[in-house]
């Protein structure tokens, strides 16, 4: 039998329900893994053992009394540090929020807690979710548990690493341009970004509000379906939250892809894609074909324009969203200042790291008078065309299959020196956010050095179930990676 902390969330939840494992034992196992591994991996920024054990007692009582029946009851979770958690420090991996303790809990986390899941702590990330490697955190880098000389990806790198290192049963992340799917790929776990509006953004510290979406990172597709079913909700506190009636995602855990039409975008297999990654992803398509799916190549179009459109829109929204960090109401405040404006400026320059400042400046510029039409509006028009290209694709295919990133996880310290190159690494994930689509990433092999390769499936809006069914089926065919 696997150690308790190595079990999938569903398997652990079942053992807790059947009284084979107590909630306290589940926490013991996760905290032991954290104590053993996290000094090196550094998946967590904050771990709160006392609060977790206190809640475990309460949850255990409710399970014993038959009041808590969710498959996640008693199952320990790690939460990305950009989701507010009442009385638990929430830093966004930034110096500017180094001491911020929220007075409320994000709806997605609250939904998990209502299901009986227990928060272990808060995971490391790129500062304000701006980055693809978890190296821009103000509190130090996270290392990839599969090979600690490499990055875990980002920005939800801490959440992906915590799952991969069995330092939790599952985790929540957020995905603005690939920040759940790409680290899932680099760390060899499963990650899903739902359709925009499926999970409430209330309590998620905003980066690019029209693109941000919370989603699960876990050890299996079954876990993903269960967690997503628990966190999805219509929330009046988020005006972009949708009232969906089809969030019974576990109903899609079926082993069947017969007759499914899969599109392979040629644009996703061109220059810049590592041949080992290409081979593993194409093999996955062959496997699904052998199981009865139809596979066809097509031209998605406009793929290369997704990155400039994304950085224009995301940075514009970020420049506005991050105005609130001013050293007055919470977080860091500079020591020396002459007047109010000096206080604002020094606080922000000292509190934000270089990547965040770079994006705020670009965002302010593209929104400024005289440039708004040329840059921001232009990007929104290109976004409309990208959405249209996906609409055309989904008229023909049930889902799109491709890689999640052009390579496997880069070595630590190799990415930040050239931001442009880092941005290009987001090419297969970013358009999904622009079009608001769901996407799932799961392991489909390893490169010759043993690093995981991620397979990405992209669906039309509201087609999470198609993706879950296909991913579940593929997992069964694939077996252990």
């Amino acid at each position: 039998m696997s150690d308790i902390n190595e079990l999938s969330a569903v398997a652990l939840g079942r053992k807790i329900k059947e009284k084979e494992v107590s909630v306290k034992e589940a926490l013991d196992a996760c905290f032991a893994a954290i104590d053993k591994k996290d000094e090196e991996v550094h998946a967590y920024i904050t771990v709160d053992k006392d609060a977790a054990y206190k809640r475990a007692e309460d949850v255990q009582k409710k399970i014993d009394a038959g009041e808590l029946k969710s498959p996640l009851a008693g199952v320990p979770a790690a939460i990305k540090d950009n989701m507010c958690t009442k009385d638990l420090k929430t830093t966004c991996a930034s110096k500017i929020l180094y001491n911020f303790v929220p007075t409320f809990t994000a709806t997605a986390v609250e939904n998990l807690e209502n299901a009986g899941s227990i928060v272990l702590g808060k995971t490391n990330m790129d500062e304000f979710a701006m980055g693809s490697t978890t190296e821009t955190s103000a509190f130090g880098v996270t290392r990839n548990p599969r090979n600690t000389a490499h990055v875990p990806g980002g920005s939800s790198g801490g959440s992906a690493a915590a799952v991969a290192a069995d330092e939790c049963a599952f985790a929540l992340g957020s995905d603005t341009g690939g920040s759940i799917r790409q680290p899932a790929g680099y760390c060899g776990v499963v990650g899903m970004k739902p359709t925009y509006g499926t999970v409430s953004r209330y309590g998620l510290v905003a980066y690019g509000s029209s693109l941000d979406q919370i989603g699960p990172l876990a050890k299996s597709t079954e876990d993903i379906a269960v967690i997503l079913e628990a966190i999805a909700s219509h929330d009046k506190k988020d005006s972009t939250s949708l009232d969906r009636k089809d969030t019974d995602f576990t109903s899609a855990l079926k082993e069947d892809v017969k007759g499914m039409k899969i599109g392979l975008p040629r644009d996703y297999f061109g220059d810049g894609l590592d041949p080992e990654v290409a081979a593993a992803v194409k093999k996955a398509a062959e496997d699904l074909k052998a199981a009865g799916a139809e596979v066809e190549e097509f031209d998605l179009k406009l793929v290369k324009y997704a990155i400039p459109a994304y950085y224009t829109i995301a940075d514009a929204e970020a420049s506005s969203n991050l105005e609130r960090f001013d050293g007055i109401k919470y977080g860091y405040r500079t020591d020396n200042f002459t007047d109010l404006h000096d206080l604002y400026k020094k606080t922000r320059s000292e509190g934000f790291g270089p990547e965040v400042q770079r994006r705020i400046m670009l965002g302010s510029f593209v929104l400024s008078s005289g440039y708004y039409d040329a840059y921001y509006l232009k990007a929104l028009k290109v976004k409309a065309l990208i959405k249209q290209a996906f609409d055309e694709a989904f008229a023909k295919y049930d889902f799109i299959l491709g890689p999640v990133a052009p390579t496997t996880a880069p070595e630590l310290g190799k990415s930040l020196s050239d931001p442009m190159k880092m941005y290009l690494g987001d090419i297969y994930t970013i358009s999904v956010n622009l079009a608001g689509l769901p996407g799932i990433c799961l392991p489909c092999g390893k490169d010759k050095t043993g690093l995981p390769i991620g397979l990405q499936l992209i669906g039309d809006c509201f087609k999470e179930k198609t993706l879950i069914q296909a991913a579940y089926t593929y997992e069964k065919i694939r077996g252990t990676v």
């Binding site: 001491n99 005006s239 224009t312 007055i328 109401k329 404006h341 400046m361 302010s364 510029f365």
Partner: protein, 97 residues
């Protein structure tokens, strides 16, 4: 590099961004911004004649609600996060004489 960012522009961007940049940071910012704008200029290759700008992907807009307070009084907990507070208020530097 096609885009050249002038001193005046970076000064203006600093004001809009509420960031204090030293000379070295200004030079770096000019370079970074120009490089990103060169890249974003590639969007010019896409014909967007007659295309409506798309802000949100779902048709649901304008979620109205009654203007009623539903949250409780959290002011004590909220003020605990303030760098400086006094008499149930945030303290800021003198803003006028």
């Amino acid at each position: 590099m096609a885009n050249v960012i002038s001193d005046e522009t970076i000064e203006y961007v600093g004001i809009l961004s509420k960031l204090k940049l030293n000379e070295e940071q200004k030079e770096q910012a000019k370079k970074d911004l120009a490089q990103m704008l060169d890249y974003i200029d590639e969007l010019g290759e896409v014909d967007t004649e007659g295309v409506e700008p798309m802000t949100h992907i779902h048709p649901e807009v304008n979620c109205f609600r009654e203007d009623v307070v539903t949250n409780g009084d959290d002011h004590e907990a909220i003020l605990k996060n303030a760098p400086e507070e006094k008499d149930s208020a945030f303290v800021v530097p003198r803003t006028f004489d």
